[in-house]
Amino acid sequence: MDAHRVVNVLVRRRDGAGLLRGVPAIVLVVTATVIPFVGLVAKVLGAGDVFAVWSRPGVSGTAWFSVWMGAVSTVATLAIGLPAAWIVARHRFRGRDLIRVVLGAPFVLPTVVVGAAFLALVPGGRGLVAIVAAHTFFNISVVLRTTTPVFSAIHDDLVDAARTLGAGRIRTLREIVWPLTRSAVTAAAGLVFVLSATSYGIVRILGNATRSTIDVEIYRRAIEFGDPSGAAALALTQAVAMLVVVTWSASRRGVPFTTLASGSRRRVPRAGVLYVWILAVAVVLPIGALVTRSFRGADGWTVSGWRAVFGGDHSRLEGVDLLGALGNSIRFAAIAAIVAVPVAILVARPRRNSRLVTFIASTPVAVSSVIVGLGILITYDVEPFDIRSAWWLIPAVHASVALPYALRSIAPLVASLPTGLGEAAATLGASPWRAWWSVELPLLRPALATATATSLAVSLGEFGATSLLTRRDTRTLPLLVESLLGRSGGVGSTAGSAAATMLLVLTGFVIVVLDRGLRT
């Protein structure tokens, strides 16, 4: 057998395995997202309903608003986030770890809290500008998480070589950096667009009650108007449109390149450091306003909100169990990450991952969580398989929702791994498993850290589906925050802000530990 055929056989074998490795991802997403979604749509949607709902007043306006507001938010987020990601990924400077944590934090905050934090900072600051600003604030972390692994993998020598050969900054950027990072950047852009266009909490709180996205309209029809078929029609449309965007943006292929050492150790220009610090301050301000609010009662400063959430003041807030909610949140997030990250690793294989698998693994991003939550109630309700109230449904849904994000953190780096490495190992007699374990996996460590942190963060912040599946004893932190903020009397506001602060601290801790533990 000549060498050419050996390679061919190897490649073909891996090809078949591509689909096989996708099986866990397919099982996870199909059971936790696709079946409930299709189940609900099939139950409530008649043939004519798909079009009928669009003739309702205001509905087509929400679709148009979703699209253009999503586009504006995406441009703003990329313009601000990409330079920051580049600086954080490629340079060592004092405070870098802190900045990474700060810029990564907003993503996990329940959007209800992000909205409240913005209002605490700019009282009365509602409207379109506020919505776009909040989406930028919220999604910079998505850009960071998706692009830093690739940015940090571009070797200095490449850039230096281009410069030495006479290319200017712009030309180096266009002909060297862009081809290498294109796949990560478009993936980030696609994700940010989908997250902004399907935004729910931020638009509700900052939209002056008059702006509404399709996701808001889905909720209103499903819950407030008692029009599940209209909601299902919109959800179906939204899912299809967003899947197209996500699939297209995730399928852009970058130029493969070799990464044997990661990143650059060189100092960053002062202006760059200043930029990320300013950005970090801009992110901290609303969060700071939130923390302040946890100490701010109607009649001055107080710690009673904190006392109340820690159970020191039982008579005043019935049914509040901060430690219980904290425990649930941690438990669910851990399970979600333990499931989602390995499943994502299996799917994200160099060039050999099946399109079908990638497509299916992306669906949770595109699907309305309200519809999934309601769908689970009506599809998994048949005795003896009535699992609607099973606690593990919640981490299962979280894992499914986290999978696309985990995949996006890993896939760009995997796609840029040199093909030769695995094949060299195979030629030297290593089994595919061994080649993967000892050669490829160590190179993926930064991406794994990011994927794990992202999965934990997604689970910690998930609100829509959780709120429909939770029971009192499975309540998570975001739900506790929401419920506290809805209470009469000053203590609800301070205690709600205190619980939101706890959520923030927990997430910051997760990101720091993972960065330290897995990256270095």
């Binding site: 409530v44 009650a209 008059t210 008692g226 809805g486 609800g492």
Partner: protein
Amino acid sequence: MRPNVICSRAVLVATIAIGATLAACGSDDARTTTLTLVAYDSFTPPEGAFDEFTRQTGITVEIATAGDTGEMVAKAALTSGNPEGDVMWGVDTTFLSRAIDAEVFDPYVSGAAPISDYLLATADDTVTPVDFGDVCVNYDVAALEALDLAPPTSWADLVDPKYANLLVTPSASASSVGLAFLLGSIADQGDGYWEDYWKALVDNGVLVVDGWNEAYYTEFTRYGGTRPLVVSYATSPPAEVIFADPPSPTEAPAPTAVVESTCFRQVEYAGVLRGTDRVDAARSLVDYLVSANFQSMLPESIFVYPSNSQVELPESFTRYATDVATPLFFDARYIETNRERLIEAWTRIVS
């Protein structure tokens, strides 16, 4: 009539998959010792509230929270006939008709406690009224004094330029409190006339925000906002006193008060969920929910008035809450039929 959904589906599954689940479709089984009470998130009775029921019947009560009232009813309507619990607490006037139309309930009106005829008349012979409360314009006493303004007393005052830019309300399309305020204005002004009233409100600078908590905790002057008039509950003043921080001196008046003529009444109901296999036990739980023992815990835990007319109100209510004599009210059927139309029209006006 539809056949029993649980049984027919279980039979189907059993035939295909396992084949031994028929037994579960019989009468009461070992699980009779626990009943599940489905309730909205903010249902927070004191610890031990069901101990007396357990002592009397040997049945323990598990609470399954189900989101806010709208989410709870949407879920119940979708799972009608195969419910997530045995009894539901808290479907209110604005959602009752939808629940009834979706056949969520197995009709049962408890006769175990004295409940006023006017409350019973609203229950459609399907559910039992368990509590009621009002949504009214609240005002910050000190803030109005600082502005040298007398508190408003009527709907007309709210559109008076004297009170320009002072009122904040949650959105009628996103908040039950906001919807109640809209319905109150319609009950007062009349369907067909309320649009002009709302245009006048907008011209007079009403601020519309998403939810109750933003209206109250962000925009209301008492919590650092700029609006001394806020749409909230009639029981917000006693809540201000009970949750005052630091605790207020016992003789001090409540820092907020309500504009009584703007109050819109909402009644909440409890019912037996259709499809429960423990109908008798579920009915006895509904009886307990209106018992004097349980009802006396409601005012200071979930800030509503008990439906049981023999229950005495606590001092915080008799002293600080306004007992609204003639609240505005709408039939549940009217609300269900017109909700979408009214909200769409309202959204156009405030946009």
